[in-house]
Structures are given as C-alpha cells and as structure tokens.
C-alpha cells in the first residue's frame, strides 16, 4: 500500500501539485487521467522519489523506490546499448539474477540489436520487460499503451491483470480510456495539479460519457467541416 498525505510540489512560483491525499492499495490497479500538463508525470516522479516535494509518501517498505518499477512515458536509451544489455543493467541495479531471458522476452524483441534502433513501441516494450524482470511490488506505468501495437496492448493488459492477482499495486496513466477501463479498479482525475474526481469501476462508463460531453461540446460543429 502507498499512502500519500498532503503532497504538494512547486516549480519556482508555479504550484504543480496541490495538497494531494491518496491511498493505493495492494492488489489494485489505479488509473490517473488528466490533460497534458495536469501534473500526472510530476506526481509519478514524486512517488518515485525523483522529485522533491512537501508532504509524505509512505509504504510498508522503508525505501519505496527500491521496490518500484517506473515505466517512463518516453524511456531513454544509450546510443550503443543492446536490448539485452539494457535488461541486464536494470536487473543488476536491483541485484536481481538475470536468467532465462529467452522465455521472458514475451514481446519477442530483437534483444541483440541496439535499443536506440527500436521503434517507439518496441522501446516501450523493452522498458516494460525490464521493470517486470526486477520483481517489483509497485508499478508506475506512464502511458504504457502509447505507440504499442494491438497484439502487445492485449498482452500488456493481461500482464497487468496477472500483476494484480499477485498482489502488486499498479498505477497507470493513459490517454486511451478503453485501456483504463480494461485494467483499472479505480480512476482518479487530476486537473491543474489537484484531484477533482474519484470513480470506481461501475461508474467508468458514466465518466467516459461525461468526459466526451465536456471535451467535445460543440467543437466539432465549430470546425464547420464540409
């Protein structure tokens, strides 16, 4: 379980996260939605301990980050490192024994090629494979479905279900509502750095409709498409 209490974050005079209070329970998947720049990634970085903040983030582990797998929106790779070496690096970093990679390469990535030559989706799949190999208890997946092909999206969804069964805590951000609908138990909506809505699975349909109505409004008519 991760408990966030009175979390705030400022960049100079700009407040990007405002007094956030959240609980992420064991064995549950949480979706975080919000417009670009709403504060999702900053929140993730605070949980990961990459950004400084005020307030507190607590878990049963003394050092949360050592049990946390963080899939970044745009994973960065060194120019001349192969997929296999990347996986080895992330396992080394957590002192995890690196073995049986051929079977664990579920996305069938060309691991002996330089990771920088991978497509956007392949890079994301490599980064995801790496944090799965680390045997983490908590996962932050920042837009895991972006740029990934349909087959892999199905596989990622199933992986998330399995992680949940194993009692892991998963936090996902996605701009594709259907992916959250398939994977999450709860969705939290963030706007201007503050959480404005909290929705359980049974109300996901209503939330999607509300978002559509609010976002689209009469903008399509305004386009005056002919």
């Amino acid at each position: 379980m991760i408990t966030i209490t009175d979390l705030s974050k400022t960049y100079g005079p700009k407040q990007v996260l405002v007094n956030i209070n959240l609980i992420f329970e064991k064995g549950k998947t949480y979706g975080i939605i919000g417009e670009n720049g709403a504060g999702k990634t900053t929140l993730f970085k605070c949980i990961a301990g990459i950004e400084k903040y005020t307030g507190s983030i607590e878990s049963k582990h003394e050092i949360l980050k050592n049990q946390l797998g963080f899939l970044q929106t745009e994973p960065y790779f060194f120019s001349k490192i192969t997929g296999l070496e990347y996986l080895q690096l992330l396992c080394n970093a957590r002192s995890v024994i690196f073995k049986d990679i051929e079977n664990k390469n579920v996305f069938e990535l060309p691991l002996n090629q330089y990771a920088i030559t991978y497509s956007t989706g392949m890079k994301k799949k490599l980064a995801l494979t790496a944090i799965l190999l680390q045997n983490n208890d908590y996962f932050i997946l920042d837009e895991p479905f972006n740029g990934v092909d349909i087959q892999s999206n199905i596989l990622i969804t199933e992986i998330i279900h399995r992680l949940k069964e194993l009692g892991k805590t998963i936090i996902i951000s996605s701009h594709i509502f259907s992916t959250l609908n398939d994977t999450c138990d709860e969705i939290h909506m963030i706007k201007n750095g503050a959480f404005i809505k909290h929705v359980f699975k049974e109300d996901f349909g209503r939330l999607e409709q509300e978002m559509k109505d609010f976002t689209i409004g009469n903008k399509i008519e305004n386009l005056d498409l002919k």
Partner: protein, 305 residues
C-alpha cells in the same frame, strides 16, 4: 544554411556558458590546449603523425551520428545536406590540417583533408548497425557504450604497442597505456539521465564503490594486453608500468567522483580546472578525492537513499 551554422555557434556558446566559462575565453583556452597537446604528442613520440590522423578521424566521425544526419536530411535538400556535412567536417579537420602544415607534414595534412571530405559521403544507417561485441556484457553501461564509440582508437592503440615493441621504444608503449586511461576517463565525462541512477537499490557509498570497482576491472581488461606485452619485452620497466597503472586507476576514480559531485549537472569549468590540476600535480588528488567523494555522496543522496 547560414542560419543553421549561426544556430550551431549559439548552441556552442550556450554549452560553454553552462560549463561556467565565457565563450570567448573558452575558445581561447581550447586553442591553447589544442596547440599545447599537439606539441606534447609530437614531442612524446616519433609516430605522432599516425596518432594525430587517428585523433582527427575520431573527432570528425563524431559528426556522422545517423540520427543527427537523418534530421539534417529531413530539413535540407540533398545538395545543401552534403554542403553542410562537408563544411562541418572541414571546420573540425582544419586545426589538425593547419598544425600538420605548420610541421611541414603535407602528406598527413592531405590525408586528414581527404578523410574530412570522404566521411561526409558515407551514410551510416542506424537500422542496420552491426552490434560491436564487447567483453563487458555483465556490467553495463559506461564501458559498453564507450568502447563501442571508440573501438577504432583501441585498435590503433594496440597497433601502437606492437610498434613500440618492434622498434624497442618503451615510451611509445607507455604512451599507449596512457591513451587507454584517457579514453576510459572520457566514458565518465557526461552524467547519465537521473533514471539510470535512480534504478539502483543501493546507497550512494555502495553505488560509488560499485562504479569505481567496475571502472578499475574493465580498464585493467583493456590495458592487460599492453601490460603483458610490455612486461615481456621490457622486463626492467615493470615497476614503472605498475606505478603508472595505479595512477591511472586513481585518475579514473577521481573523474567518476567528479562526475557525480554535482549530479545531475555536468562537470563544470571549476571542477575541470581542479581535475586538470590533479592530473598535473598528483599529490593534489589527496585533497581532491575526499572533496569530490563527499560532494558526490551529498548529490546522490537526493536520488539514492
């Protein structure tokens, strides 16, 4: 095209400013360093012209990054692309060519000129890049990435050792050990993204220890062929070889500590100055190493706990 070069000039000035130095002073110091190091090289060995060509090739080939060139191809017409590539290569090559002219080594100057021109027309497609094997698989990433970027220097360097043995010139062999350590130090000159430090589940002290031990083991692996060869053919010099090998380890450890002393920021001008002083006057390292160590632990504490 004019805008492209003025933009490059602005970017270079910004990099120098970020480094903590006025651009004009940066250019002046770079010129002095270039001339000084060139003289030093030609003073140290009679094979300097070969090494000089290799170094020039190393710098010029840095501009052949496939992603960068793919961006240029997207932005400019074919004709302008080649003009830019040629001009850029020449800008890098000209200081080397002028120095060779100054030393009346016209043939070497011509070789560098030809290299500058030819590389502009060589297209490296990153999609089909051959994966260069390395012996460092178990412990990525600095030596894997660094070795793949500089492997041709190592080939040249081992050739230099063979030359040293063939002509019985110990200084040349000694110089090749020095080159290995200088190259290894460049592997640690730029800080990695925070994520690549964050992933480690160790405290700053263990993290630094691990980095330093990896660097010592892998640099030993790269110097080993030279050490063994020189020890066999110059057995009376084993003591000197080992002393300088140890100095190499100390300098390598110092640059690792300097790299993390203000992490995630790059090594700045004042740190570089201190490092240069440490290299020139090794006893100064006794002060420098503890200072960089405590600064590194402090900086890394923000990310590693």
């Amino acid at each position: 095209m004019k805008f492209y070069f003025s933009l490059q000039f602005k970017m270079l000035n910004r990099q120098l400013s970020d480094f903590g130095i006025l651009p004009i002073i940066g250019y002046f110091l770079s010129l002095i360093a270039f001339i000084g190091l060139s003289y030093l090289l030609f003073y140290a060995t009679e094979f300097a012209s070969y090494i000089y060509i290799l170094i020039a090739f190393g710098f010029i080939s840095k501009l052949s990054d496939p992603h960068r060139n793919s961006f240029l191809k997207n932005c400019f017409s074919k004709k302008k692309y080649f003009q830019i590539r040629l001009l850029e290569n020449l800008i890098i090559g000209i200081p080397f060519i002028l120095f060779m002219f100054f030393r009346t080594q016209y043939l070497s100057a011509g070789v560098i000129l030809i290299i500058s021109g030819l590389i502009a027309f060589i297209d490296i497609n990153s999609k089909y890049n051959y994966t260069i094997p390395t012996p460092f698989f178990r412990y990525p990433f600095e030596f894997i990435v660094g070795f793949r970027n500089t492997f041709f220097i190592f080939i040249g360097n081992y050739f230099l050792t063979i030359m040293a043995i063939t002509v019985g010139n110990f200084n040349l062999g000694f110089f090749s050990i020095l080159v290995v350590f200088i190259i290894c130090m460049t592997f640690y000159s730029t800080p990695e993204r925070e994520y690549y430090v964050w992933i480690f589940s160790s405290n700053p002290k263990k993290f630094l220890y691990r980095k330093i031990m990896t660097a010592i083991i892998f640099s030993s692996l790269l110097t080993l062929p030279i050490l063994i060869s020189l020890s066999i053919f110059f057995p009376d010099k084993i003591g000197i070889i080992l002393i300088f090998q140890c100095i190499g380890y100390i300098l390598l450890s110092t640059i690792i500590l300097a790299k993390y002393s203000d992490f995630p920021n790059k090594i700045n001008f004042s740190q570089s100055l201190l490092l240069a002083l440490g290299c020139a006057f090794p006893p100064f390292l006794l002060l420098l190493i503890p200072m960089f160590y405590s600064q590194s632990v402090y900086s890394l504490n923000k990310i590693l706990k």
